[in-house]
Subunit: 449 residues, 2 copies
């Protein structure tokens, strides 16, 4: 083993030299003259000689043993990757929102510890052995089910995003938060496991003429929403998106990323309506009532409606339409060095799969198609990437998602033309970042893109 | 809102009645006479009237606000879902193993906190800003890369399982642990993000005649393995599985389930060789050296070789072959009530996708095909389910996986015929559980299945 230096016998010149780290980065981040995708991967300069090998400190001491942390947690060196809130956004933290640090996230799965939070009356601690779910109203067999009961039903698992409809709401009128965590962080994606709503409805024998379902949570706000089943019309008899699509995917879930639902996501059980605004996926779910018209509770009346330019309210606007955002570079993750950059981002649609994402670096004049990372799943986050050579010029970078229905993510101008400026919900318009010559990135709302 | 009881104004008869919980379960778990898949979903009996509605305690107090837990953790009621170790298995916990509680897991993603652990010299705390990865040996451009450098390369994300080749090793000779956590828990599955090894090799300009790669970890054991590249032969010049397949999927990863790699999985960077025994996915990766023959380090010599019936050692047996196990019912999760059961389990193969899984409830005489949960991904865990009506009879339940190469998971008899009984690695044989009339489940090695 001529090249292996045994632990504990390091010549002095092989001690880690922290002062030289920046040099390593500047030199080797270079990868001069390679012909990788994107052309000249990391810019100019030469590669360094690799001898003597740096031996890390961690080679020199015994680490901790197994199950010293029987439930693991992140490295102490990652302590700044946290959910955050905006103090001025709500009067208190009990009825408020926290944002996922999507600038620091990779792939499509959000770890449970970083899933965004939205409480209307705080997050309770619920004993799963005492909690019951009731199915009642227009049903043949009213049911009371424990979590153990639910676990006996045929199981369904799927990866889906959840997004608060107020995501980006501060930006409607022109606030320009210089942080993707606060412009887009009410967005997470998990693997969910539970029982299909259709299975539970069959078990309870829901009347064929029931066209609405009321979901109520076991929290202090008794969070309550009316949800349309197939054939649903609104309280005035007018057509709305009925529940045919909803029933295809809806679940009562008890697990998230393989483990029991986290308290913040409604432990022990929640409703999950993939594709719709997250508040209808009622947490700490305690009952589902079946009827033939909407109950018009406060959360579909004073909240979660949209004031349109004509002064009327848009109601039951459940779906999170096609959306995307560039997560690198972004205000939270500036460019450190010119040369090869991989533009990365997330795309998602409440209507199904993302079919493609275009990226522009000139504010929308020219577009190139990004690569989508497999698997591309319905109503799940989809990761996209595209290579970019950047040489210090000012640039306006923006992404535009298209979903399987053919829906194209609008510009902010287009969105305002349709819905005015008195809205805080469903802001899914293209997000433009301005890259400055020094690599800093600013949030800009380019209305005429 | 005639059906809604405002919080704080509960009539006495609507207080939660914990004494009646068992009755609810017994009655409503029933779902009498429904015609759900599996026929009579949860057995016999009648449904209960749902009035008065149970109002949970959690409706009656304000919960905690957002970011009171800026990095979330599981509910206090789930405190028994933990990694565990076996005290007699190793002399200490520094060079040891912990097992994932797969009896309590759902879907295919393992949350970071429950990923199994395997240390050869303990788990170090590595500062990601000081750690370097060196590529050297038969390369045109030796490279030293920080994690920041690695993040600039084109990114790749994929969901893959990791399994210790010693998983089930205690069972080779006949130990019958009555716990799936200990028979199969050295198994986890995550979404991994990093850089493809092939991209880094191109950047370093690895010589075309380099046929082996040495990977060394930055831990106290300096964990070191030789890995075959395309064209590799063993140290005697004999053919072995060469690295063509390996290179297709291999990565240097810095993220796991969307966040930085956990310390237990090699933070800040590790090698990831999907499909191969987990120890070759060297953690705290500090160097990759390229050469033209294996280095034959201790971990491919005194460890991770297999003593065959003829007294010779099987070496470089990297692949985790097709495998499966029933996770419910299992010794850790007995059957509580007769009637409808959904048999659930996990299947996986280091060679690619699972194509189907068969399940038997009579010890392998008759088989039925299970349903596979989407997405079915290459070298990832795959969840399978199949309905089963159980009426208190003794039963021998067993699953059998088939992968895309046509490989069929063997019985223990078949495995022993091929590899003898002096082995502790790569035990991928069918696992038979005996279901007792009272619903208890025992581990049995039915050799003649």
């Amino acid at each position: 083993m001529p090249d292996k230096v045994p632990t504990g016998q390091l010549p002095a010149e092989q001690q880690p030299q922290s002062g030289t780290r920046r040099k390593f980065l500047r030199d080797s981040a270079a990868l001069a003259g390679t012909s990788l995708a994107g052309g000249g991967l990391l810019g100019a300069s030469t590669a360094v000689a690799a001898e003597p090998l740096p031996i890390p400190d961690s080679n020199k001491y015994l680490g901790r043993g197994v199950v010293s942390v029987p439930y693991g947690k992140p490295s102490k060196f990652e302590a700044d990757i946290l959910r955050r809130n905006v103090e001025w956004l709500t009067p208190d933290t009990i009825a408020s929102i926290s944002f996922s640090p999507i600038q620091d996230m990779h792939g499509i799965i959000t770890p449970g510890g970083l899933h965004f939070e939205r409480y209307h009356g705080g997050c309770p601690d619920v004993d799963p052995d005492k909690h019951l779910l009731v199915l009642h109203g227009k049903v043949e067999r009213p049911l009371k089910l424990t979590r153990d009961d639910l676990r006996r039903f045929p199981q369904h698992t799927a990866i889906h995003f959840l997004e608060c409809p107020a995501n980006g709401g501060m930006e409607w009128k022109g606030v320009q938060m210089d942080s993707i965590q606060f412009t887009h962080g009410m967005l997470s994606c998990s693997e969910w496991t539970g029982v299909k709503l259709s299975t539970l409805m069959e078990a309870a024998g829901v009347d064929p003429d029931a066209s609405w379902m009321l979901a109520e949570g076991g929290d202090a706000s008794a969070m309550t929403r009316s949800l349309p089943l197939p054939g649903a019309k609104d309280q005035y008899g007018k057509d709305i998106p009925d529940g045919t699509e909803l029933l295809k995917d809806a679940m009562v879930v008890y697990a998230q990323n393989g483990e029991p639902l986290r308290p913040e996501q409604g432990h022990p059980i929640r409703l999950l309506i993939p594709g719709m605004e997250a508040n209808v996926s009622v947490k700490w779910l305690r009952r589902l009532k079946f009827g033939d018209k909407p109950w018009v509770h406060r959360e579909e009346n004073s909240r979660y409606t949209e004031l349109m330019p004509d002064g009327k309210a848009r109601q039951f606007s459940f779906y999170q339409e096609g959306n995307s955002v560039i997560t690198y570079p972004c205000p939270d993750k500036r460019i450190k060095e010119p040369g090869f950059q991989e533009i990365r981002g997330l795309a998602w649609s409440g209507r199904g799969r993302i079919t493609h994402v275009d990226v522009s670096v000139d504010g929308g004049k020219n577009w190139r198609e990004a690569k989508l990372m497999e698997p591309v799943l319905s109503k799940a986050l989809t990761r996209f990437t595209i290579p970019w050579e950047w040489h210090g010029e000012e640039a306006l970078i923006v992404s535009r998602a298209v979903d399987e229905t053919g829906y194209v993510q609008p510009t902010l101008t287009q969105l305002r033309e349709a819905r005015g400026t008195n809205n805080i919900y469903h802001k899914n318009s293209q997000q433009v970042w301005r890259v400055m010559p020094d690599g800093e990135v600013k949030n800009v709302q380019i209305v005429n893109v």
